[in-house]
Each structure stands twice: as structure tokens, then as C-alpha cells.
């Protein structure tokens, strides 16, 4: 063999060795911290390194709308009211955050009055003022945040948005910096508005925070941690907030770990290997199917799975052919192989039909499984019926682009969905985008995304939080969360009416009916509800320092080292 051959062979072997390298952990040291037995006392101090598979969509509380962003940022930014730091149903209970008490609601349900706690300071040492609340809501509206639709119920919010002047006024928000009083007036009663006030979008930031995406330089907040470094697609760092430790809020504990570095690592395989070896202390995504049996068998003392209030579904853009035809949407619901999709999730997905997930008022277990109008989700699909409907609609053989992102296993799910559509009679091709830009891309009307992957994890324990995704009123030109542009007048009206009832227990049966109507009309294709895992390194105190919050998932402030 000549030199050229030997060189090419060497290159080739180097190329093949990539997969070996990819499986190896890096040399990054989590740093600090010492080991010790867990005796029920949370040890303070130390630093840890954790991982996410893709960059959070934004590192800005006004804009982020993915688990990747919310899980770390709820510890950095606190709204006027928030949720109890508890597991299970107790964690869905509202408690005062930056406000002294829960809001005082007028009898007509239109006015909410709160008073800011005294002596609060942001992480940069500047004082928190009542006026900051209005600025915070202005940023959410002005930046066309995915959460802006929640706040359009505030009187004057729509007018503020229409005027296009960032420094303009929202007439429905009155603040008094001297007394700390904040009065919010709504255009109509909104039964979920207390929960809306508890969302991270409404977490206060200083009034001089610019009206732009602050991902690379996140603004200061009030919370147990502060963002001290944010390098998109590489890493971001949370440090303990010394200002918060001086004046902590009742019910919101300070963190135990001093420094939490989150690295963006594409390979779930590598993340899992690094958690096993101790190079990483936690991975946000579950370990890949390949090594999950090993993790469950060997590391069960530091691995646990928890059910989440979440729904995985495919959106179908009702404004774009062929999904503008109800017959086609019904066909897709008949033809989706839900048990097959559950296998891609390696058992971490419970197949289901209901859009509202278990744990959210309005969830109907019968609709989810036995009485699913499209067939039992645990059984094979009715492909014949799907094909017949597609032929009847005259769209067989039509080109369909299926959108998905490259997070594991979303890419595989997207490929499987495209294959299923092809089996139904379309000519479907997957289009896999980067996880960091995926939801912005499909949420932009100019993309005209036909169909694709979507999922939703509970922002707050209220059916409105899921129904918002199919509410005709929430459709936006950009950052649209109603990816399929679902605009069913009856569903939209039902959401508006039921949402006026502040006592959720009184309206639960009607929410059940509305959810049923949505599923039966095939506006979307729900296919299951997700479990999430917590997988720690050996040096983390798994037994004593771990809290899985029903709204915000893993609570980093509860963690400690052994």
C-alpha cells in the first residue's frame, strides 16, 4: 500500500473512532464539594456541573418557554406570587412570592390588588420597586413573548401592544413605589389569572431592563440563584445570590449548592456516561434507551422516574393543505401508531388520547384510553381507515414536510411520524431543525409548517394552561404556541367562558367535556404523557436533597452534596 493509502486508512480509522470518542466523558471537573453521609441534613456549599441536550430557547424570563429555560430560571426570577416548594399536589398551592400576600380579588373578579414586600433587592443590589412589575409585563408584551397572550386580559394591554411604543402605559396596571401597592384591572374575569401572575414571565426585573432578548446578559432577579455566565450553546452558570441570602422570602428556601454550571452536551449517551463516571452530577434529559437498563439495574440508588403533567402531540396546521381538511386530520388520528411511538421513548411515555394530561383538572381517564374515539392507544392503528379517508379527501400522494428537532428522541419520533404518514398515503419527509431554534421556527407563521412534533408540560395546574395551545385567541404571527392555528369557535368560546370561573372544582366537568370535544374533532394528535427522570452522580445526596416539583420539575435549590 502506498503512502496515500496508508494516510487515508489512518484518516478512516480516526473517523471510525469518533463514536468511541463520543462515548467518552470529558475532563471537566464539577469542582468543589466534599463527600459525606446523608443523615437528613442538607449540606451547604460546593459546586456541581449538570447538562442539557440543547440550549434553552432564551435565558430571559420574559421569553423562555421551554423546560430547558424554565427549570433553571425559576430559581433566579420570582413573581409576585408563586408555588409552594413541595412535591405532589401540595406543590400546586399558590403562596406569596415578592408580594406580602396572595392577591385580593374584587367581587366582580376584575381587580387584583397586591403589595410588594419591603426591603427586597435584586441580585445586583438595586431595590425592587412596584413599578418594575409594569415594566416586566411591558417586556413580555413588547417582545412578542410566547407568554404574552396570558397578559392580554389586563386592561389596556392590547392597546399598549397596538401602539407599538415600549415606554407607553398599560392602563390596567397601577403601581405605587412608596406603598408598594400594585393594582391590576382585567377586561374580563379570568379564573386562572392568579396562576398567570405566578408564571416566570411575570417575575420582576428592574425597570431599566432593555426591551430586547437578554439571553447573553440575563437581567438581575430576586431568587436563591443568579445567572453569572451565559454563553449560548456552550454553558450557563448559576451562583448563589448573596442579596437573597441576606433577606430570604418565607417558603422559598435558599439553595444549598454554591455554584451550578450547566453544559450543553448534544449526546445523551455521553451525558449518561458522564453522570455514571461523576464528570456530570445531573442530566436534565433521561438516559438514552441504550443504557437505561444498566442505569436502572446498577444505579437505582440514584435514579428515579416521575410522572409529569404533560402531553406529547403532533400539530397539524389547519391553515395549510392538506391539514385544512377535517377528514385528513381524522385520518392522521386513526393512523398514528401510539404504542410504536412509546417504544421510541423506551417506556417513558404512557400512550394516551386525551389532550389534558393526568393531574390536570379536566383529565378524563376513559377518554385517554378505553373510550378514545380513534381506537385504544395501546393497540395498533387503523391504517385502512386512515388510507380510505385520505383517498376520500383526494390528497393521497401529496408532499408533506414533517417538522421536528434534533433532541433525543424527538428526531426519531419525527422520522417515525413521517414514516407513518407515508404509510397512510402521503409522501412525507422529515425536516429536523436544531433544538435551540425549533419552536421559534414552527411558531413563525412565515414558516407555514404543515405538521410536526410538539409537547407541553404544565406551566400551572389549570386546564387553561393546556387549552391555551388550541385557543383561537392565542394565535400570533411569531412565537405562536398554537402551532396548528386551531381556531374552533366552540372551543375558543368554551375556554373563555370556563376560564371566568375562579373555583376550578365547579367547572371541572365542563372542562372534561371541552377536552373531549377537542379530541373528537381531531384538531391535534395527542399520543401520550411523559415521565421524567432524575439521575444523579454518586456525590449528590440523592436520599435527602431532592425535590420534584409538579410545576417546575427538578428543584435545584433542594439539592446538596453528600
Amino acid at each position: 500500500m502506498g503512502k496515500l493509502g496508508r494516510r487515508a486508512l489512518a484518516l478512516l480509522l480516526a473517523c471510525l473512532s469518533l463514536f468511541v470518542i463520543a462515548a467518552c466523558g470529558d475532563d471537566d471537573d464539577g469542582g468543589g464539594g466534599s463527600s459525606g453521609g446523608g443523615d437528613g441534613e442538607a449540606k451547604k456549599g460546593g459546586s456541581i456541573t449538570i447538562s442539557q441536550t440543547s440550549q434553552p430557547d432564551y435565558m430571559d424570563p420574559a421569553l423562555t418557554y421551554t423546560v430547558n429555560g424554565i427549570e433553571p430560571l425559576w430559581l433566579v426570577y420570582t413573581p409576585l406570587i408563586t408555588y409552594a416548594r413541595e412535591e405532589g399536589p401540595e406543590g400546586s398551592k399558590l403562596i406569596p412570592g415578592l408580594a406580602e400576600d396572595l392577591p385580593e380579588i374584587s367581587e366582580d373578579g376584575l381587580t387584583y390588588t397586591l403589595t410588594l414586600r419591603k426591603g427586597l433587592k435584586y441580585s445586583d443590589g438595586s431595590p425592587v420597586k412596584a413599578a418594575d412589575f409594569e415594566h416586566t409585563i411591558k417586556r413580555v408584551l413588547n417582545l412578542e413573548s410566547g407568554g404574552s397572550a396570558f397578559y392580554l386580559v389586563i386592561d389596556g394591554a392590547q392597546e399598549y401592544l397596538d401602539a407599538g411604543k415600549p415606554e407607553g402605559d398599560i392602563s390596567g396596571i397601577e403601581t405605587n413605589d412608596e406603598t408598594g401597592e400594585i393594582t391590576i384591572t382585567l377586561t374580563e374575569p379570568d379564573g386562572s389569572f392568579s396562576h398567570v401572575l405566578a408564571m416566570w414571565f411575570a417575575a420582576l426585573v428592574p425597570s431599566d431592563t432593555p426591551f430586547k432578548n437578554m439571553t447573553e446578559n440575563p437581567p438581575p432577579g430576586v431568587g436563591p440563584y443568579m445567572v453569572t455566565e451565559s454563553v449560548p450553546n456552550r454553558q450557563f452558570v448559576l451562583d448563589r445570590n448573596p442579596e437573597y441570602d441576606k433577606n430570604p422570602i418565607d417558603g422559598i428556601p435558599s439553595g444549598n449548592i454554591d455554584k451550578i454550571t450547566t453544559k450543553i452536551i448534544k449526546s445523551a449517551q455521553r451525558q449518561a456516561q458522564d453522570v455514571i463516571s461523576g464528570n456530570l452530577d445531573y442530566m436534565q434529559d433521561p438516559p438514552p434507551a441504550d443504557i437505561k437498563p444498566e442505569v436502572k439495574a446498577k444505579y437505582s440508588d440514584r435514579y428515579v422516574e416521575q410522572t409529569t403533567a404533560s402531553t406529547y402531540y403532533f400539530f397539524m396546521n389547519t391553515r395549510v393543505a392538506p391539514f385544512d381538511d377535517p377528514k385528513v386530520r381524522e385520518a392522521v388520528n386513526y393512523g398514528i401508531d401510539k404504542p410504536g411511538l412509546a417504544r421510541i421513548f423506551a417506556g417513558e411515555l404512557a400512550p394516551g388520547c386525551s389532550f389534558l394530561p393526568p393531574g390536570v383538572p379536566g383529565f378524563d381517564e376513559a377518554l385517554d384510553v378505553d373510550e378514545c374515539p380513534w381506537g385504544n392507544p395501546n393497540e395498533p392503528p387503523d391504517l385502512e381507515k386512515a388510507r380510505a379517508l385520505i383517498k376520500e379527501a383526494g390528497v393521497d400522494g401529496m408532499d408533506v414536510t414533517v417538522y421536528g428537532n434534533n433532541d433525543d428522541p424527538t428526531d426519531k419520533v419525527t422520522e417515525a411520524y413521517a414514516d407513518m404518514l407515508t404509510k397512510m398515503g402521503f409522501n412525507a419527509e422529515p425536516k429536523i431543525l436544531d433544538g435551540g431554534v425549533y419552536f421559534q421556527t414552527i411558531g413563525n407563521q412565515k414558516t407555514k409548517a404543515q405538521t410536526g412534533f410538539a409537547n407541553w408540560f404544565q406551566d400551572f395546574p389549570h386546564p387553561k394552561n393546556f387549552m391555551f395551545l388550541v385557543d383561537g385567541k392565542s394565535i400570533q404571527p411569531t412565537n405562536n404556541q398554537n402551532f396548528g392555528n386551531v381556531d374552533d369557535p366552540e372551543v375558543t368560546k368554551g375556554i373563555a367562558e370556563l376560564n371566568q370561573e375562579p373555583d376550578l372544582t365547579k367547572a371541572e366537568d365542563q372542562w372534561v367535556e371541552l377536552n373531549k370535544k377537542l379530541v373528537e374533532r381531531a384538531w391535534i394528535v395527542p399520543y401520550g404523557h411523559r415521565k421524567l427522570s432524575t439521575f444523579f452522580s454518586e456525590r449528590m445526596d440523592f436520599d435527602n436533597c431532592r425535590r420534584f416539583h409538579p410545576v417546575y420539575f427538578n428543584d435545584y435549590s433542594s439539592w446538596c452534596l453528600k
Binding site: L4, L9, C15, A23, I344
Partner: protein, 349 residues
């Protein structure tokens, strides 16, 4: 590390063959027959050439395997399906997401090499992936050869400002490592595709990796060709043609190009090997062939995620890649030795 120049500026190709034939005492044999005679004597090169042809034929037969034996296509998933193995029903993909391993002939050739995580037949994807990889490799090498020949001959023949411009562009491209330039172009073109005037190529088309690979190798071939043309244009036969009143284009086509033929053949063979390898690397990095289209690179990438429980997913396409590149390189070396024993042509990376 190679210390020799990419080419010698001594006379190569047909212009040198007469002299060589004299040395080998094979008077009366034409240069091409002489080369063939030398190649026939190189048994190792012939063996690897045969191996390459065999690999091409096997990959070309992908539809036959898919339709008659596996009875499934390269992108057809069988997530919830079962197959009968020795009278026993088995899930193609288990409830825990682990796919079935190689079945060889136990299921009449179905899932011969097992399934991937989406329940797709690995053997079928391997063959179709080979077709894609080889198609991309050959087409990209062809594109490189044509562009390199054009630029190399024009720059070497006209010299002056033309040469300076072309040489500078090639030097700039040369300064970027192939894999980085390829990945950057691949990622940029994957989302929006490529638009050149009326020509529009979608981001998931195979034409995108072909274009990228075909482009990034141009400096590696155009520069040696330019050097050879610079030498050839000073030779007596070119002088004679010029004295007879031949114009520059006629001289290029009738005098210079025939003398580049052997170099081009050698380069082309070696370029295919490098193009196949680069395609695999780009696809592995997510900047080459787009899913669900298979290629050996994407299959290795998919297999990496399951290397602990199903190592064959990465190893099998890896072995095919090794055999293809090895066979092309050894055969390419043999062709070079046969056509131009004194040449030191290689693709310097």
C-alpha cells in the same frame, strides 16, 4: 507527515511514456496498453479493484434485497411489528426500546443484520446507504475533477492576472481544514437549501453534500494540475503547435489535456475514496445526508447512541466504509504506478 511535494514537475503522462517504454524494452506497445500491462502484474491492486466493484454491485442490488428478501424499504419503520424467528414471535423493537439484533437467515433474511431504534431493517439501510455514499462520492469526485481541470488548466496556461486570481481563491479555500469547511457549509445549507439563480436545491437533497464535497476538494486537485500545466506549456510540442498557428484553446484541448489524462485518472480514483470518507464524516456530524435517508455516515451516527447494547449498528457500516476506502486507495495506487511510475500524485489533506 509527507515531506515530498504533491507532484514532481518532471514530465508526466504520454509525453514521458515513450522514454519509459524504452527503459522497459517494450517497443511497439502503446502507452495505454503499457499501463494496462503493468496494472495486470499488480495482483494486490487488481484484487482490491475487484473488491470495490463487488461492493458497488452489492449496493446496486439494494432494491433486489429489499423487495425480494427483506420485503421492506430503507425508511420503512416496523416499530410495533413482530417477526417469526424459529417459530417464535419476536418484537422488532422491544417495549424498552431495544431493537432486535441480527437474525441472519432465521427469519428468511428479514432483519438480516437486525433493526435500528425505529424498527428499520439495518441490512436494507446498509445497502441503500452504500448506494447513497458511493453515488455522492463518485459524483462529488467528478465535480471536483471538472472544476479542478478547468481552473488548473486556465490558471497554468494563461498565467498572469488570471493565475493570480485563481491561485488566491484556491489558497483561501486551502487554508480551511476540509472537515471544518464542509461542516460549516453543510449546516448553513441544510436549513435553507441552495439557490443559484433559477437553480434551487432543497436542504435535504443529496445534491447538497455532493456540492459541498465537490467544492472543498477543488484546491487539492486544481493546484497540482496547474503546476503540471505550467510545465507542459513550455514543452517543445506546445511550441511547435504554437508555431503552426494554433490558438490557446486549441493548444489546451489538443496538446495539454491529453497529457493530463493519466494524472486525472489517478486523482479521480483517489478522490472518490476521500469523498466517500468526507461524506461519512459530514453525515456523522449531521451536516451531510439528511435523515431519514441512509448513508454509512448517518448509520454510524445512529449506531453510536446504541453502541453498548447493539454495537453492530455502528460497526457494520464502519466496516463497509473501511473496505470501500481501502479498496479504492490500493487500486488507485496501483493505477498510478501503472500509468505514471515516476509520479507522486496524491491528495494532500
Amino acid at each position: 507527515m509527507a515531506t515530498e511535494p504533491a507532484t514532481e514537475t518532471t514530465l508526466q503522462g504520454p509525453a514521458a511514456w515513450g522514454e519509459q517504454a524504452e527503459k522497459e524494452r517494450v517497443h511497439g506497445l502503446g502507452p495505454w496498453r503499457l499501463g494496462l500491462r503493468r496494472l495486470r502484474r499488480n495482483k494486490v491492486a487488481l484484487l482490491f479493484g475487484f473488491l470495490f466493484i463487488l461492493l458497488v454491485l452489492v449496493c446496486a442490488a439494494a432494491p433486489l434485497w429489499a423487495d425480494n428478501i427483506a420485503k421492506t424499504g430503507p425508511t420503512d419503520g416496523h416499530l410495533s411489528d413482530t417477526i417469526t424467528v424459529n417459530g417464535e414471535q419476536k418484537n422488532v423493537v422491544g417495549l424498552d426500546g431495544v431493537p432486535i439484533g441480527p437474525q441472519y437467515w432465521k427469519a428468511d433474511g428479514k432483519f438480516f443484520l437486525g433493526a435500528d431504534g425505529n424498527g428499520r431493517d439495518i441490512m436494507v439501510r446498509l445497502l441503500y446507504g452504500g448506494r447513497n455514499s458511493l453515488f455522492i462520492g463518485v459524483t462529488a469526485a467528478l465535480m471536483t475533477a471538472i472544476l479542478s481541470l478547468l481552473l488548473g488548466v486556465v490558471a497554468g496556461f494563461f498565467r498572469g492576472a488570471t493565475d493570480a486570481v485563481i491561485r488566491t481563491v484556491l489558497d483561501i479555500m486551502w487554508s480551511f481544514p476540509v472537515i471544518i469547511l464542509g461542516t460549516a457549509l453543510g449546516v448553513a445549507l441544510a436549513l435553507g437549501g441552495l439557490k443559484i439563480g433559477p437553480l434551487e436545491i432543497p436542504g435535504d437533497s443529496l445534491a447538497i453534500p455532493i456540492f459541498i464535497i465537490g467544492l472543498v476538494y477543488v484546491p487539492y486537485m486544481a493546484r497540482p494540475i496547474r503546476g503540471q500545466v505550467l510545465s507542459l506549456r513550455e514543452k517543445e510540442f506546445v511550441e511547435a503547435a504554437r508555431a503552426q498557428g494554433a490558438g490557446p484553446f486549441r493548444i489546451m484541448f489538443s496538446e495539454v489535456l491529453p497529457n493530463l489524462a493519466s494524472t486525472m485518472i489517478v486523482f479521480f480514483t483517489l478522490l472518490i475514496a476521500n469523498a466517500v470518507l468526507l461524506e461519512a464524516a459530514l453525515s456523522f456530524l449531521g451536516a451531510g445526508v439528511r435523515p431519514p435517508n441512509p448513508s454509512w455516515g448517518t448509520m454510524i451516527d445512529d449506531g453510536v447512541e446504541r453502541v453498548a447494547t447493539a454495537p453492530h449498528l455502528a460497526v457494520v457500516p464502519g466496516v463497509m466504509l473501511v473496505l470501500t476506502v481501502l479498496s479504492l486507495n490500493v487500486f488507485g495506487d496501483g493505477v498510478r504506478d501503472a500509468l505514471d511510475p515516476r509520479a507522486k500524485v496524491r491528495v494532500e489533506l
